[in-house]
């Protein structure tokens, strides 16, 4: 019961009880299904964009500048006559990989810090707690700007800075999860069975504490993608000719009053990715808690 309580509390106090709380995705199973379909579409766009897009993302056609959406050009064309749909499809790879890499980096840092804090005893815990507190004073976007000032604008500094910016949040959760698992009856049982401290930590505490990380990662990807694309939008990430979604939005800004489609679709993709990952993350969260209840 302790485990269920604590892990559920970590993941969301409101979602742990049998009485359903307010969540649109809770009852509507269609949410996760649509999310998976959309993410599958993205996977195809990453693996083989030419299956979906009939034009090259950089193919310029001045005669077709700023054409409205039509059957030939589903999302219209941009100022250079490039097909916006194709650019959006080809843009999936750079846009998503930045967000994914940043999330992975953030999680990696968080697992190290969180595990040290959760397992290293009071002094280490207190020190890491202070460090995390200090890092919280740096909003992710500002940290990224500081990073770009030091190392210049590049995709690498973008990934590192967004990853660093999201790490303290994850770290605090990893720590909480480890502390919760540490005090659970099955860990106690493992000690009673005579297992050594390291065996219990390595085989029982860590694997159980890491379980919700998949959910955390899914929920966090959307924000990482938003941050990363924001920096591209400010001209501090992917360079403009590349079909990265944030950069596309920065590119099309001056045409907003005449050609809304240049701005609408790349932005909508970012929103859909975030919605899909959030929806899927929440679904996984509930599944995870459901399993906890059965055990």
């Amino acid at each position: 019961m302790t485990t269920l309580d604590s892990s559920a509390a970590l993941l969301g106090a409101g979602t742990s009880r049998p009485v359903p709380t307010a969540s649109a995705f809770r009852r509507l199973r269609i949410g996760p299904i649509l999310s998976v379909l959309f993410l599958l579409f993205l996977v195809v766009a990453v693996v083989d964009p030419s299956l979906l897009a009939h034009y090259q993302p950089l193919a310029v056609d001045p005669a077709k500048s700023l054409e409205a959406p039509s059957v030939a050009h589903l999302f219209g064309t941009d100022e250079s006559g490039r097909d916006v749909f194709s650019r959006v499809v080809y843009g999936a790879t750079p846009s998503l990989s930045i967000g994914l890499a940043a999330t992975a980096l953030g999680l990696a840092i968080a697992i190290v810090l969180g595990a040290l804090a959760g397992l290293g005893g009071r002094v280490v815990d207190a020190i890491i707690g202070r460090i995390l507190e200090i890092l919280f004073a740096f909003p992710a976007l500002l940290l990224a700007l500081l990073f770009v000032t030091i190392f210049g604008a590049s995709v690498e500094s973008l990934i590192i800075s967004v990853g660093l910016g999201s790490a303290p949040g994850y770290a605090r959760m990893v720590r909480g999860q480890i502390l919760a698992v540490k005090s659970s009856p099955y860990v106690e049982a493992s000690y009673v069975l005579g297992h050594s401290r390291w065996r219990v930590l390595g085989r029982t505490v860590l694997p159980n504490a890491m379980r919700p990380l998949l959910v955390l990662a899914t929920l966090g990807i959307g924000q990482s993608i938003i941050w990363a694309s924001s920096l591209s939008f400010l001209g501090l990430g992917a360079a403009p000719p590349a079909p990265e979604w944030g950069a596309m939005l920065a590119d099309g800004r001056e045409f907003i009053s005449t050609a809304w489609w240049v701005e609408l679709f790349p932005g909508a993709m970012i929103v859909f990715v975030t919605l899909a990952t959030t929806s899927l993350g929440r679904y996984l969260q509930r599944r995870l808690e459901g399993r906890g209840a059965d055990a």
Partner: protein, 339 residues
């Protein structure tokens, strides 16, 4: 060990880890004012830590740090300027002396010289911070109004309203600020023509930028508040209040809301810091004067003293806001006043 979840990773962990959900909060009532003192103490620690981080950042800059602090190699600083900067920052002395000099300068309010604005960083910040403070403060207020309205109107108001409310929250939290800003501009400034696209620094010019910053934040705030609101509605005091004959709205406004705003309140300090960095996007988009726009110019020109100065100011805002939030806690939660 409980943390209130928002469904968003970046926000939920920001809650003070010792602040627990409704059921277990009573054990913390003894803390009362003591936690305020603790917050001030840890705030000073955070400021010192932030100063240390920026010191490390300056030293992490590739190349000669003196050249970097004088505006970077691209600005071709003269030998005399480099020598002056070296002397000022103590770059020719040991790292420890540099560090002490750095802290001493910060305590005196000396943030160095901004190469992109051609004046001291402290003056740049003093000149441009007020439009940004006005913008972020209105955005925070607006976000709270939207979040509370959404919770009051849709939590446990039947399946449709509930789904609509939480659906809208998830959607708003997923909106990138720059895209939302573009859409609002297109709809309200260009298509409908209700609001001029560049409304200047007056109240009309504040409307669209404030909404652009507030809507995604409101999505997050509202998710946190909603979970807590929902929990509070199950508490025995709700039943007893209803049994006393209090109306549904009365219960929600007078009892439930008090509980529900607490976790969101904790987030406010963090939110203010992140709103200031969000102002970089919004001020650029709406061509508003302010710290954000100045910062962006500084970043693109590798103006290290300016970026560091703004970072430290944001850390200061974060710390001050957290102290204010702690004081507000005592106002909102009477149990904290007991001792």
């Amino acid at each position: 060990m409980t943390t209130v979840s928002t469904g968003s990773v970046s926000f939920e962990d920001d809650l003070d880890s010792d602040f627990t959900t409704t059921g277990a909060r009573t054990s913390h009532s003894q803390r009362g004012w003591r936690r305020l003192v603790r917050t001030v103490g840890s705030g000073i620690l955070v400021l010192w830590g932030a100063a240390t981080v920026t010191f490390i950042a300056i030293n992490a800059m590739p190349g000669n740090p003196a050249v970097a602090m004088a505006g970077g190699a691209a600005s071709h600083p003269s030998k005399a300027v480099i020598a002056a900067v070296t002397r000022e920052y103590g770059f020719d002395q040991s790292l420890f002396v540099q560090y002490l000099l750095y802290l001493l300068r910060l305590i005196r309010g000396n943030f160095g010289f901004s190469s992109s604005q051609k004046m001291p960083v402290a003056d740049v910040i003093a000149e441009s911070i007020w439009p940004t403070v006005l913008l972020t403060a209105s955005a925070l207020l607006l976000a709270w109004i939207l979040a509370i309205a959404s919770c009051l109107l849709t939590v446990r108001r039947g399946r449709f309203a509930t789904s609509l409310g939480s659906g809208l929250e998830v959607l708003s939290a997923a909106l990138p600020q720059y895209w939302l800003g573009i859409l609002l501009l297109e709809i309200f400034a260009f298509s409908l023509g209700w609001i001029p696209a560049t409304g200047g620094d007056g109240a009309v010019g504040l409307i669209l930028p404030a909404f652009t910053l507030a809507i995604p934040l409101a999505g997050f705030m509202s998710q946190v508040t909603r979970d807590e609101f929902d929990l509070a509605l199950e508490q025995p005091f709700v039943i007893s209040a209803r049994a006393r004959g209090m109306s549904d709205w009365g219960v929600r406004l007078r009892h439930v809301l008090r509980h529900a705003v607490l976790p969101g309140l904790t987030l406010s300090g963090w939110a203010l810091g992140s709103l200031i960095s969000g102002a970089v996007i919004v001020e650029t988009l709406y061509s508003r004067n302010g710290l954000g726009g100045v910062l962006l110019v500084g970043v693109t020109q590798q103006d290290m003293p300016l970026t560091v100065g703004v970072t430290l100011i944001v850390a200061l805002v974060y710390v001050v806001a957290n102290v204010v939030v702690d004081a507000l806690y005592v106002v909102v939660d009477p149990r904290l006043r007991s001792r």
